[in-house]
């Protein structure tokens, strides 16, 4: 469904990605792991259009999306739950979720049953249901992460990009987040998961790519990667 070939990207003079290639097949969960500074978030941003790649190809369901604006890519069915959550702080939980369905409500995507989806999202994330009228900025870190993920799902997307969902969360909440990811997986949602925490990510994913200094150093089925010493080396050094 999502295909990335020889992607190069960076910020101004700094080139962060030096030609990476990945595939995310429909219905699968693929994870991209690596230490900080490796380029994981840059990859996500390039895919969702927040930054423009300097070289390479990105295709969503056969349509080339590299170079497109992020709002155009969103309309094609790519939902991105960004690093740092980025919820709309002065708006209520409900409004945040409704905005997730913006393309559906304004004719850019098939409308479907927005109200129904809203209720289903609340059921999936019970904490959000309790706080549906609360302002998103007053939610805790964990709750905001739930909101960001639920908001992404409201698009009724082809694929969901989850960018470091565990960042800044206490271990208990991290467990909950990954439980929800597993639940979404069981419903057949295609996901690309970027995580700093390799262990949890590899447990829930089908396939994994390890990013080191802007290049894919190793990749394979997630179960295999879990015991691969190269993964540990990518994070803590000592592998060279």
């Amino acid at each position: 469904m999502l295909s990335i070939k020889n992607l190069e990207a960076g910020y101004g003079k700094v080139q962060v990605l030096h030609g990476i290639s990945m595939e995310v097949p429909k219905g699968k969960v693929v994870t991209l792991i690596g230490s900080n500074g490796a380029g994981k978030t840059t990859t996500m941003r390039a895919i969702s259009g927040m930054i423009s790649p300097s070289a390479g190809e990105i295709s969503l369901n056969g349509t080339r999306t590299d170079g497109m604006e992020s709002f155009t890519i969103a309309k094609l069915g790519l939902a991105h739950s960004p690093e740092g959550r980025r919820v709309f702080a002065t708006m209520s939980v409900t409004d945040n979720l409704i905005l997730g369905a913006f393309p559906r409500l304004t004719g850019s995507r098939p409308k479907g049953d927005v109200q129904g989806d809203l209720e289903r999202a609340m059921d999936l994330f019970p904490r959000l249901k309790e706080r549906r009228t609360q302002l998103a900025g007053t939610l805790s870190g964990g709750e905001q992460q739930m909101l960001a993920m639920a908001r992404a799902v409201m698009l009724n997307p082809e694929i969901v990009l989850l960018d470091e969902p565990s960042m800044g969360l206490a271990p208990i909440l991290v467990e909950e987040v990954f439980r929800i990811i597993a639940d979404l997986k069981s419903r057949g949602v295609t996901m690309l998961l970027v995580e700093q925490f390799a262990a949890a990510a590899l447990k829930v994913a089908d396939y994994g790519y390890v990013l080191e200094n802007g290049r894919i150093s190793v990749h394979g089925p997630a179960a295999q990667l879990q015991d691969d010493p190269a993964v540990k080396a990518a994070y803590l050094g000592g592998g060279h």
Partner: protein, 291 residues
């Protein structure tokens, strides 16, 4: 005492006009971190266009929505020509100078089309003062207050109840995240400029019958309204209403008790003081720097 109360009423009406202009500053600043230095001239154009329509026989009440439409077009024009290119090249100097330049051009055009003299704007309401709580108040002044509040409430309603309004608020909150929702933030910015000029033009048409209408009416108004916007912290709607009323009353009382030549001074001094002491405004929040 009666005179003081009368000055208070006039001050409140004047203050609401400041609040409406300040509201326009807030709109564009929240969505795009820019503002229109020619905002006062947008108000003036609204008044002048309104005057022309009324002089051609258009009913005052029909004229108001027409002025709003004109304002939207004018605002979109300013944004396309002056602001968008500057945002693209990330130049703060760029949009400051170009909105100033556009303001100057509009004022000059107005001078040539409508002349340099001040004109009388026929009042749609009877000019005889009414008696409210023991002092005189003009019916037009009451209309100004209601008109201003109605307009700001209207925008609030739009923001809260419609999906497009929510998209605008989302853009205030986090532009990048809004784009991820499929919201075309460039259009949102253009729209906020259109709305901002429309509200200014509307305010111009409202206040025109109360004061002299001319090409120069906008300039100092725009500057003083900025003081009001700052008091409100560029984010708080209540703040600008309070700030506007304070300023309006300060001006009418200064103009009466000291001298009309000095009536602009309280507003300007207020602006300097607020920026010197609490740049985030009395109602705003200080932002945290990120390095």
């Amino acid at each position: 005492m009666e005179i003081l109360l009368q000055l208070v009423y006039s001050g409140i009406a004047l203050g609401m006009i400041y609040a409406v202009i300040a509201f326009g500053y807030q709109l564009t600043f929240q969505t795009s971190d820019t503002l229109n230095f020619g905002q006062g001239d947008a108000l003036m154009l609204g008044a002048m266009v309104g005057l022309t329509l009324v002089n051609h026989g258009v009913n005052y009440w029909l004229m108001l929505p027409l002025v709003i439409v004109f304002g939207m077009l004018q605002g979109a024009f300013v944004e396309r020509i002056g602001v968008q290119p500057a945002i693209k090249i990330k130049s703060e100097f760029g949009w400051i100078m170009s909105t100033i330049a556009l303001g100057i051009i509009f004022k000059n055009v107005a001078e040539n089309v409508w002349g340099r003299d001040d004109l009388k704007f026929p009042s749609p309401l009877p000019e005889a003062p009414m008696n409210l709580l023991g002092a005189n108040v003009l019916p037009m002044e009451i209309l100004v207050v209601f008109g201003a509040i109605a307009m700001m409430l209207g925008v609030e309603f739009f923001n809260r109840k419609t999906i497009y309004g929510k998209a605008v608020v989302a853009t205030f909150n986090d532009r990048d995240a809004a784009k991820l929702m499929g919201i075309n933030t460039g259009l949102v910015i253009t729209f906020s400029y259109a709305l901002s000029s429309a509200t200014a033009g509307f305010a111009g048409a409202l206040i025109a019958p109360l004061t002299l209408t001319g090409a120069t009416m906008g300039s100092v108004l725009g500057l003083k309204a900025f003081a009001v916007a700052i008091i409100g912290g560029l984010t708080s709607g209540l703040g600008i209403i309070v700030g506007g009323i304070i300023l309006g009353i300060a001006e009418t009382t200064t103009g009466f008790y000291i001298s009309t030549g000095y009536k602009d001074v309280p507003g300007l001094v207020l602006l300097l003081m607020v920026l010197a002491l609490k740049p985030a405004g009395l109602f705003g929040k200080t932002a945290i720097k990120k390095v």
